[in-house]
């Protein structure tokens, strides 16, 4: 095993550990602010995995949009509704145990299904350039529809959260 492939495996292990551990933190921590920071850790782990599997552009977008945008937005919302995570407030509903059983079965089925030999992979080259060509040539209509959706969601959020008084 060369030094480079060992470094890739080590990076994948660390990233996967961060991603899964952060996800567990999001689900299990009682304080929502800690949950939001844990979500940031998990998203950074996923960005690291993206970086290692030939998707550097997606990794950068993940950090910019998720960690820089969505997590900050969620933190603002948590602080605006700060009273909801007081000491006596229960954070889990009564369906916790059935949900846990269901999710374990679901995960078992997923892992049994995915545990086959998928074959060798070849590295992708110049993915950023290819993404740009695909988005602006073959997928330009979805891109424009997406622009309209983002515009409408921003206006919709403003209208919803506006103070009537």
């Amino acid at each position: 095993m060369t030094v480079e492939s060992f470094a890739i495996y080590l990076g994948f292990l660390i990233s996967a550990f961060l991603a899964v551990g952060g996800a567990l933190g999001v689900v299990l921590l009682p304080n929502l602010v800690h949950c939001a920071f844990s979500l940031a850790v998990s998203l950074l782990g996923v960005a690291g995995i993206f970086m290692l599997i030939d998707a550097p552009f997606l990794a950068v977008i993940q950090v910019l949009v998720y960690v820089g945008g969505i997590v900050v937005l969620i933190l603002f919302a948590i602080m605006l509704t700060g009273r909801m995570m007081g000491k006596g407030e229960r954070q889990f509903n009564k369906q916790s145990l059935p949900a846990l059983i269901f999710v374990f079965l679901f995960l078992a089925i997923l892992i049994i299904t995915l545990w086959i030999d998928w074959g060798a992979v070849k590295p992708l080259k110049d993915t950023t350039e290819t993404i740009a060509r695909e988005v602006f040539r073959d997928y330009s209509l979805p891109l424009m529809i997406l622009a309209v959706v983002l515009f409408l969601s921003a206006i919709g959020a403003l209208v919803l959260a506006r103070d009537k008084g």
């Binding site: 689900v27 509704t81 403003l158 959260a161």
Partner: protein
């Protein structure tokens, strides 16, 4: 190179953890965070298969998923804050206005 199986297992783990949180949390913002986790698991799957089949279209789909997730979380948080203003509560098991 990293085995495709390892990436798929990680993505299945993230998706399942997010699913458990979305089913069992009471706080609406917590549920939104868990939905983001599930979308991330799906994104990881898309990128893994795009690498396996050696076509980068999967990364374009993942890009669209990220943008749509941002739009969804913006509207979702606006609704949560509106409901908090009106009902002084964002625990979803108290929202039974439309339940018959």
């Amino acid at each position: 190179m990293i085995d495709t199986r390892a990436i798929l297992i990680v993505s299945a783990l993230i998706f399942s953890i997010g699913l458990y949180g979305a089913l069992s949390r009471r706080n609406a913002i917590g549920i939104l965070m868990c939905v983001e986790l599930m979308l991330n698991g799906a994104n990881l799957n898309l990128v893994a298969f795009s690498r396996l089949h050696h076509i980068p279209i999967g990364q374009v789909f993942a890009l669209f998923v990220i943008a749509l997730a941002a739009a969804a979380v913006v509207v979702g948080l606006a609704i949560v804050i509106l409901v908090y203003k009106q009902m002084e509560d964002i625990n979803v098991d108290r929202f039974n206005l439309m339940k018959w």
